[in-house]
């Protein structure tokens, strides 16, 4: 097997077993999910990141396209204790460097203690520790990837569920996972997927029943056009958002966001619904969070572990968002009902349009 190196911001260089060659750099993060590697690796929210699996054995049940969340692998590189040949071959075919035989528990501990950090990767017959360090030196901070939306969004407007006769959803694609679209289409919605920087006129042209801001990678401040769409539509059209979408909605409506130490990535994040008192398990993948929802949104759900906002409701507007991923894939299906709620909100609004926008 090829030599393989990981250079960390702390100055250490780790050695492992090369499973897919190449060089890469990105923000070092970890997920604690032990199934769902295909879904995670194709999740656009991992763009510009190096994904470490805390579960040691990855690839046990092969690789199947029908389980992908997008058309390519998004993490810049993959780190694990042990990758199967199947998954290593797939990563190699996708030109994504991969390293295993690493003590990933040590990496997780470093990230937990030091926060998500930059790293450089070098894998190959002639790879050296210096190559990894060189990559590290060229690595940008996550928030500095100002054009990240461009890398993950559709280039052009596309329609899913054209034959459905339910609600019309205008989905702003900031790096959407396929399962979000599938979940809406399965509920009889027609989903118009727009680039993250679509114009209000383009969106208005489909006369949406709900404006839905998707998940995606990076800092929500780097999606100014998506935020502006929310501002434009919120008076007349219900708004929904998932993950980055929640952060964009919050910022658009006067809230603030902040970077977390190392974020939430896994499929076991407990979320308490404030009203019902019920706790559900959720899939999460975010490094930024809503710090203050502002005066137009209230927190409807919180993370049981650290009290960060997991769900926001509009106070005077029809807005519901989730910080976690109700569409699962990977992860628990406890919260699929969110899509029913979103579409119900859209239906209600269509049947009884808001007559008088509430005053502050």
């Amino acid at each position: 097997m090829n030599p393989a190196y990981v250079a960390l911001e702390s100055g250490h260089v780790l050695e492992g077993r090369g499973r897919a060659p190449g060089t890469a750099r990105g923000e070092l993060v970890f997920t604690t999910a032990y199934t769902g590697y295909e879904e995670s690796l194709t999740d656009p929210s991992y763009e510009e990141q190096v994904l470490t699996f805390s579960y040691p054995l990855i690839g046990n049940y092969g690789v199947r396209e029908e389980r992908f969340e997008s058309d390519r692998v998004h993490p810049r590189a993959v780190l694990a204790r042990e990758l199967t040949d199947d998954v290593a071959a797939w990563l190699e075919s996708e030109d994504v460097p991969a390293i295993d035989h690493l003590d990933t528990r040590d990496i997780v501990t470093d990230v937990r203690e030091g926060g998500a950090m930059k790293c450089g990767i070098a894998v190959g017959k002639h790879a050296t520790p210096d190559d990894a360090v060189a990559e590290l030196e060229r690595c940008q901070a996550m928030s500095d990837h100002t054009e990240i939306g461009e890398q993950v969004s559709v280039a052009e407007h596309a329609v899913h569920g054209e034959d459905n006769d339910g609600e019309t959803v205008a989905l702003i694609d900031c790096g959407v996972k396929g399962s979000i679209i599938d979940s809406l289409v399965a509920r009889n919605a027609t989903v118009h997927v727009f680039p993250h920087d679509a114009s209000a006129a383009d969106v208005d042209a489909v006369d949406p029943d709900v404006l839905f801001v998707s998940n995606g990678p990076g800092d929500p401040k780097n999606y100014p056009q998506a935020a502006s769409l929310v501002e434009t539509f919120v008076e007349d059209t219900p708004v929904a958002g998932i993950c980055l979408g929640q952060q964009i909605v919050a910022r658009a409506l006067g809230g603030t966001t902040e970077k977390m130490t190392f974020g939430h990535r896994g499929v076991n994040q407990p979320v308490l619904d404030v009203e019902s008192g019920q706790v559900v398990m959720t899939t999460q993948n975010h490094g930024y969070t809503v710090a203050d929802p502002g005066s137009h949104l209230e927190v409807s759900q919180i993370n049981v572990n650290d009290d960060t906002p997991e769900g926001l409701d509009g106070i005077e507007h029809d807005v519901i968002t989730r910080q976690y991923h109700p569409e699962a894939n990977p992860g628990p299906e406890d919260t699929l009902g969110f899509f029913d709620d979103v579409l119900a909100m859209a239906t209600q609004s269509r049947n009884s349009p808001r007559a008088i926008p509430a005053d502050d």
């Binding site: 199934t35 040691p56 389980r67 203690e113 049981v304 699962a328 299906e333």
Partner: protein, 1061 residues
């Protein structure tokens, strides 16, 4: 709502019902869950009343609950406890099936209603709904959950099978097969005995024959056709739900053995390895839906079958729900760190999951799903070595007595550690096994030997495909077995690294290669300890629960390695070595001893660390010790723990033979590594001496202590010479054995010949011991503690059975009743002399035989002396109130008995320990008691008279019957007072027909039938006489309502007095 339930909590009295004796299918897991629940309930301010009949448990320790009752788990005894204690509620879901059943009976008899006792947690209706297959199927269909499809083929009114035409039959069978989704199917004839005629059928022609035959045999003219899920992957999901409907999955568990083998008999891995996320999430959701539909509160378990049908998530079926804490819950708790019993107890009190703290992280709550970053493997432990007549093909019924669990960073590591922990060694000489036999007897047929057979097959050049086809085990697993086999072959050729990396010990690799361990050590990757933290490192955790893992070869020592062992290496600390998996001869009593040692050390301010691998036990609970190391018990791995903790001492006295056996190698290993740590208490040398027959004989001779005469025979001829010198009957056994394995009394040359030829092969390196057999002697067990100067006798126990029945299988009483003061004084003297001679520091168990009690000259013979914990230690402590295991640990750590100020106690009441036998679980086994130990567990009955105490023990062991038709084959008079004594030409046939209710016999066929038909039986005269005495005390006056003298352990009277003085 939730505030109301919480205020009610304070001061409520809660009755907690334990699970009784250790049996196959119900082992130590309920001691662990009960002990954890007691603590949790007390934390919430509840007053806990505990009842269990098993004295060998931690949960029955006086400090575990406010009131502890060691009483039979029967409605009669528990109703009495309810009358005395007036509990507000009863928690039934923590005492296994036993606890659940008795609670249901208490409800049916109206006791709970009469005394206004609530059933806390899961309601009874729910329990019934899971136990009744039809009801369960209906509930599942209602919520759209797939259960294995099923239909019946039946005859119309007045129709006869003979008249049924081939075409007509074929139409019906084909329709039925279509209905359940095509061939293969399981054809099951309803209401035939022993499930005969059931099986998987692949071909239509065969099915037609089967159905015709089935219709003919069936009492109600029905054949059940069920979708076959044989060969599917079997999974379990461990679920927790609170009354507010918050519901989480603690983990899932995947059986390596395909569907069709009981999960208790399967090798089980956590988390699942071969199920894609879609499939996993579908089953997770199904589990939550099912548990919500049933309304279960607390921990429970749901079983699925899954297979890859080509869809992204595969296809599943709901197989069964266990509405309570179970063996799997214990495994799930230890595998993830999630304290299922603790949370279940709190949920039963009305707490919500997010209101319960996760003690492991201290930062999170019980409302989370553990994330794990390691692989857990559980391997069962079977009593194959004990029952040569029993077929150990694994199937739908449990035969294993216990299990070992291991944690590793790869499956290979986890599996190798688990196999090592199980301490099982197949008694197969692979060289004698042909390829054909290997395939049919060891690969196709699942047995305890299968993992080893797979390694053997790879060595013979079989491919992964071959083995998948033969075993039905998933390819992913088989590939990893191949990796292990390849590495072992490479190691034998001198390439050590990979075998070590995959999880063999350096010692194993060295043995494989015939190399020096140092040579392996120099190239093997390091083992480091990692923490079990419930969250895969996402949060900092402070709970000291660890496992070791090898570094990967390529990564070498990591520059960012974190030392995860959070123990204080500067304080005085001791490593207590546990007992590994539960097996016959080494049961939960040794866990009791290990836990007491830990408690004693902590009371002294010494840090106590535990090494053990049994997931069912209290010793492997994360808050029992200062450091829990979930590891195989080998010298090398225990030495690693000593090194990591900087321990000053290690105790090997408490974990039974497992821990004693590593004494010598561990001492050597500590020395080799230059570690300043000693084996504490009685020297390893003295423990060895006690097991070395010749040296021990000499020592006894020097002390003037009598021993049955005998010697070791190194050949067939020597054995006969010895037998003739001593005169028959003689006791024969191989040297160095556990629990009297292969021990037998032989009465003549023929029997000796048979023994030598069939049971053991005598050879110069495997001698057999031939001893004078003391017929008619009274046997005794004595447990004592010595600090090197003073000796404290914990108790003297008299066996009910005479010599010839293994001491572990004999009922026994405390205090003894056949010995006069002089005899007792001699017993004390002998015990003290032996303790002194062996320089005992710690526990000492002595087995004695006393002759001449019927008028001759009294002589006390020593049969065995073991300077270590014994299986009677907990019984003695419960009967006398003197915690001898704790005292032993304290004197080993340097205290003196004088300073501890403890005194011997003699109880005024008689306590009886009765054994529980596994024959009903092991068809074909010989149910007669003999020198080979066969019992799995024990119960205790206490009362002011022998009779009532003995009867209570029979009740607790479910062997009590007061009337009906009896067959009495042994020479004991008096049963006619209670039974209609009957004689039959064919007793087994009469039992089979239900014409016999009770049997006293030594006839094997009769006893086997009694076992099969589940009627009470006795196989020895002494036990029959004791039984009669019990019957007379209990039912003698004809009213049948004798006072059972139900009392809390703390209320039973003792007096301070020295045994034998």
């Amino acid at each position: 709502m939730s505030t109301e339930t919480q205020t009610k909590t304070d001061g409520r009295t809660i009755l907690l019902i334990g699970s009784g004796p250790i049996q196959i299918g119900q082992a130590a897991e309920f001691d662990y869950s009960g002990a954890q629940a007691c603590r949790a309930l007390q934390e919430e301010g509840a007053r806990v009343v505990l009842v269990n009949s098993n004295p060998a448990t931690i949960m029955t320790d006086p400090e575990m609950a406010d009131r502890v009752y060691i009483e039979p788990i029967t409605t009669e005894a528990i109703a009495e406890i309810i009358r005395k204690e007036r509990p507000d509620g009863v928690i039934a879901g923590l005492g296994g099936q036993t606890g659940l059943n008795v609670t249901a009976e208490l409800a049916e008899e109206g006791v709970l209603e009469e005394y206004d006792v609530d059933i806390m947690g899961t309601p009874l209706d729910t329990i019934y709904a899971t136990e009744d297959r039809d009801l369960f199927r209906q509930r599942m269909e209602k919520i759209g959950q797939p259960v294995p499809r099923s239909t019946t083929i039946s005859l119309e009114e007045g129709e006869s099978v003979i008249e049924l035409s081939e075409d007509d039959l074929k139409d019906r069978v084909e329709a039925a097969v279509d209905e359940v989704g095509g061939l293969p199917v399981i054809a099951r004839t309803t209401y035939t005995l022993g499930g005969s005629g059931s099986g998987v059928v692949e071909e239509m022609d065969e099915l037609l024959v089967r159905v015709r035959k089935g219709l003919r045999l069936s009492r109600n003219n029905e054949v059940l056709i069920t979708e076959s899920i044989a060969g599917w992957v079997e999974l379990e999901y461990e679920v927790m739900r609170d009354a507010d409907n918050s519901c989480i999955i603690i983990c899932n568990m995947e059986n390596i053995d395909p569907m069709g083998i009981h999960t208790g008999e399967s090798t089980v891995v956590t988390p699942s390895q071969v199920i894609p996320d879609d499939g996993h999430q579908e089953m997770r959701t199904a589990a939550l839906d099912v548990i919500r539909e049933l309304g279960i509160q607390g921990g429970c378990n749901i079983q699925f079958a899954w297979h890859d049908d080509g869809t992204p998530g595969g296809e599943y079926r709901v197989v069964e729900v266990n509405p309570r804490v179970s063996r799997s819950s214990a495994l799930a708790s230890k595998a993830t760190g999630y304290p299922i019993a603790r949370v279940t107890a709190k949920v039963a009190l009305g707490k919500r999951l997010h209101e319960i703290e996760n003690e492991i992280t201290g930062q999170t709550t019980a409302a989370f799903e553990p994330a794990i970053d390691y692989v857990v493997t559980k391997v069962p432990r079977w009593p194959k070595d004990k029952f040569e007549d029993v077929d150990f093909e694994l199937g739908t019924a449990m035969k294993s007595t216990g299990e070992a669990m291991a944690i590793g960073r790869t499956f290979e590591e986890s599996m190798l550690k688990a196999l090592r922990s199980s301490e099982y060694d197949p008694s197969v000489d692979w060289a004698d096994v042909s390829d054909d036999e290997l395939e049919t007897d060891y690969l196709e047929t699942p047995t305890p030997d299968r993992p080893y057979a797979i390694f053997e097959a790879f060595e013979r050049g079989y491919t992964v495909d071959d083995i998948c086809a033969l075993t039905g085990i998933y390819e992913w697993y088989v590939e990893r077995f191949e990796k292990i086999a390849d590495a072992a072959i490479a190691a034998a050729e001198g390439n050590f690294e990979e075998a070590a990396e995959l999880g063999y010990t350096n010692q194993q690799v060295a043995a494989q290669a015939g190399a020096d361990v140092g040579a392996v050590e120099s190239v093997a990757p390091e083992r480091t300890f990692k923490q079990v933290d419930t969250c895969a490192g996402e949060f900092a955790a402070s709970t000291p629960y660890y496992y070791s893992a090898r570094d990967a070869l390529e990564s070498g020592p990591s520059p960012i390695a974190h030392d995860e062992v959070q123990v204080d290496t500067d304080v005085e600390s001791v490593v207590v070595v546990g007992g590994g998996p539960i097996r016959i001869g080494q049961g939960v009593e040794f866990d009791y001893c290990a836990v007491h040692a830990v408690h004693a050390l902590r009371e002294m301010g010494v840090d106590a660390h535990v090494v053990n691998n049994n997931p069912e036990t209290v010793s492997t609970d994360y808050d029992t010790s200062d450091g829990l190391f979930f590891e195989p018990i080998t010298a090398e791995e225990v030495a690693d723990v000593v090194e990591a903790t900087g321990a000053d001492g290690v105790m090997v006295q408490f974990g039974g033979q497992t821990s004693v056996d590593i004494g010598k190698p561990l001492e050597d290993e500590l020395e080799r590594r230059g570690l300043a740590c000693s084996v504490m208490g009685t020297s390893v040398e003295a423990m060895d001496l006690a097991e070395d027959r010749d040296r021990f004989n000499q020592l006894m001779d020097g002390l003037g202590i009598a021993q049955p005469e005998g010697g070791a025979a190194y050949s067939r001829e020597e054995a006969f010479d010895l037998a003739h010198d001593l005169g028959y009957p003689v006791l024969v056994r191989p040297s160095y054995v556990l629990g009297g394995r292969a021990m037998r009394v032989v009465y003549d040359d023929d029997e000796l010949e048979t023994y030598i030829e069939e049971a053991v092969r005598v050879s110069p390196d495997k001698p057999i011991l031939v001893d004078q057999f003391l017929e008619g002697a009274v046997e005794l067990d004595v447990d004592a503690v010595s600090d090197g100067t003073d000796i404290l006798i914990g108790g003297i126990m008299e066996h009910v059975e005479s010599a010839g029945v293994h001491s572990g299988d004999s009922a026994c009483m405390i205090p003894p009743r056949s010995l006069d003061a002089d005899a007792l004084a001699r017993v004390r003297e002998v015990t003290e002399d032996i303790a002194t001679a062996l320089e005992t520091v710690g526990l000492l168990n002595v087995q004695l035989a006393v002759t001449g009690l019927d008028g001759g000259e009294v002589e006390v013979y020593v049969l065995e002396a073991n300077p270590r914990s014994s299986r009677t230690v907990p019984f003695v402590s419960k009967a006398t109130g003197v915690p001898i295991a704790k005292l032993a640990a304290k004197v080993m750590a340097g205290e003196s008995l004088a300073d501890l100020g403890v005194e011997e106690q003699i109880p005024d009441h008689t306590s009886i320990k009765e054994v529980v036998l596994p024959f009903d679980r092991l068809p074909g086994s010989d149910p007669r008691l003999g020198p080979e130990m066969k019992s799995t567990g024990e119960v205790m009955g206490t009362a002011s008279t022998f009779g009532i105490a003995y009867w209570k023990a029979q009740q607790a062991a479910s062997n009590d019957i007061t009337g009906g038709t009896a067959v009495i084959d042994l020479d004991v008079d008096g049963f006619e007072e209670f039974f209609d004594i009957a004689e039959f030409d064919d007793v087994p046939a009469a039992i089979r027909k239900g014409e016999v209710d009770f049997v006293v016999s030594y006839d094997r066929d009769t006893l086997e039938m009694a076992v099969e038909e589940d009627i009470p039986y006795l196989s020895t005269e002494p036990s029959a006489r004791a039984y009669l005495e019990g019957l007379q005390a209990y039912a003698g006056d004809g009213t049948g309502d004798a006072d059972l003298e139900v009392a809390a352990v703390s209320d039973r009277p003792h007096r301070v007095a020295e045994w034998g003085r």
